[in-house]
Amino acid sequence: MVKIIIDDKPVEVEEGTTVFNAAKDAGIAIPHFCYHPAFAPEGTCRMCLVEIEGIPKLELACSTIVREGMKVFTQSDRVVEARRGVLEFLLADHPLDCPICDQAGDCKLQDYYEEYGLYDSHFSEVKEKRGKKSKLGPHLIHDQERCVLCRRCVRFLQEVTKTQEMGVFERGVHAEVNIHEGILIDNNYSGNLAEICPVGAITDTDFRFKTRSWFLGKGTSICPHCSRGCNITIEYNAFFHRFPVPQRVYRIKSLYNPNVNGYWICDLGRYGYRYLDDDRLDEIRVNSGNDKLAWQAVAPLLAEKLNRLRYMNRASRIALVLNTWLTNEELFLVKKIFGDDLKTNKIVFADPPQGKADDLLLTEDRSPNRKGAEAIGFDLNPLDLDVLFEKTDILLIFGSYLKDKANPAELKTHLDKIETTILLSSHKSELDALVDVVLPVPTIAEKSGSLTNCEGVVQTFSPALEDHRNSCPEWQFLVDLGKELGSNFKYYSQFTSTQAILKEMGKEIVFFEMNND
């Protein structure tokens, strides 16, 4: 360990730490553009210059390694002057685009100017002209005039995707970052470029001109589109429920997790957020008999039917279609209730079709919890419709993927034969008209629980978005059902939260004991 002093604050860090990271540990943020923790220090923006006692020139915090007894000053007059100097240079050729630039509110140039700049402009020359709003890729727009040449984009495409669509051309003030021969950036990670660009030089086409960053609330969650389990931040309009605004969710950003996705997410997950708002089920729908059904009534009604079959020794007539978008807790509850208590064995899985994996984050599985289902002990039996529908009186369907496994006419025929069919789904589908009861449930972004990713990492999450629909999370419904079935009331009563369920899972399943944090 090495002891240094930053701004008169003693700090102890591991050998080999940079001044930048030592300052970060001490809660001192050092302004920077080109530095990004995913890459080796670049040292070209010159914004992170700090004063080190005994060294006549200012030194870069991002690349200077700490030495025992080093005394660093990040707020001295010389340092502030140097920062102001760098800002002045960057803003000299920068276009006055703030009113039309999507980066506004999230822009390092703006932030640092507010903190260190606040000077009067002495620029009386003509600004350099460069390309504006050209297409960089299917998801990206390039405004070269705003570029500060931090080269984060070039480095990302070189070191992370290894596709190298961008390079630095020309020399001196004419140096520019660009694509080559019009070959667009068309890889599954292009969205990260808009995120790492510290200014509005690379922006998201999807987000363009839609809103301002200061209107957005942020919540963290886990991307459900494959089994990598990338950590994400969901940005939504914070006024959504009070004022009429065009959409709720505006964009997804990556959230750093060194054990799962590092600094990145893929475009599939980043731009696949419309499902959070589109085609959602808002209300309980009853297609037979009672016109209105409240949530409180569902569990007792279903429990009664299930118990009847149980005590007639006809539990084999209970069937479930599950999917691996369900959380660990939900799958565990299903196993306990239907596997252990009711002893049903007709449990199958209907999942979205697999896709092609890439060699970075995206997996073949396009659902987040296959590993969880396996760890809980399910054989992920492929769906056999005849087995499923033969001799079944009660069918619980979780999720609407069943609709893709057979044609609608076939499904209708099968489902009509079953006495009680219940669908728990977040989204509208053709199945809604074919079952007896449709129960709306929240998406992963709107509930809590945990998921097990493809490498066996168990990740807990809480709601990132509020759900104002008449929905109930599957885990809550299952707990109520477990209690209503009566045979194990005390056991299910302890599950007042998903954390409590996960704790119990740790006691009963070795895998979850080991992976509990």
């Binding site: 190298q164 390079g167 630095v168 051309f169 080559h180």
Partner: protein, 157 residues
């Protein structure tokens, strides 16, 4: 149409590449040869060079656009590069540049209609003791004045 190096050049290229432990290091010498052979380095030449050195065409473009001597467009038979730096300017280079523009009827960076002369200015050529000076292709000419320039250009076929 993918440009093909001549057999003789191909041999030279292999000899050059062998000098370095990494193929990429031969890029500048190879580009000089490519420019000599093809007259300029456009996308087609970038691809040929990239494939020879096992790098990407974008990397070739990054290098070509960094260095002043590599041309993306072809130049005339004689590329007149007049030094516009300090010592030469002190001794009247700027007037000579104007004279050349007038004499050839072209501006800086332009080529005469018969493709014979291209005129550009360059920074210090390292011949300040003969200021004002110019380089035509790779030949240096110093102690210039208007009549000397006339003499030199007349001799060029």
């Amino acid at each position: 149409m993918s440009p093909e190096f001549s057999e003789q050049t191909k041999k030279k290229l292999q000899e050059i590449i062998a000098r370095y432990p990494q193929k990429r290091a031969a890029l500048l010498p190879v580009l000089h040869l490519a420019q000599r052979e093809f007259g300029r380095i456009s996308f087609e030449e970038e691809k040929a060079v990239a494939s020879l050195l096992e790098i990407k065409p974008i990397e070739v473009r990054e290098v070509v656009t960094f260095y002043s001597m590599f041309m993306r467009e072809p130049v005339g038979k004689y590329h007149i590069q007049v030094c516009s730096n300090l010592s030469c300017a002190i001794l009247g280079a700027e007037n000579l540049i104007d004279y050349l523009k007038e004499k050839l009827g072209i501006g800086l960076g332009e080529t005469t209609a018969d493709q014979k002369f291209t005129l550009t200015t360059v920074e210090c050529l390292g011949a300040c003791e003969y200021a004002p000076c110019m380089m035509i292709n790779f030949d240096y000419y110093g102690n210039l004045d208007q009549s000397k320039i006339d003499e030199i250009l007349d001799k060029l076929e």
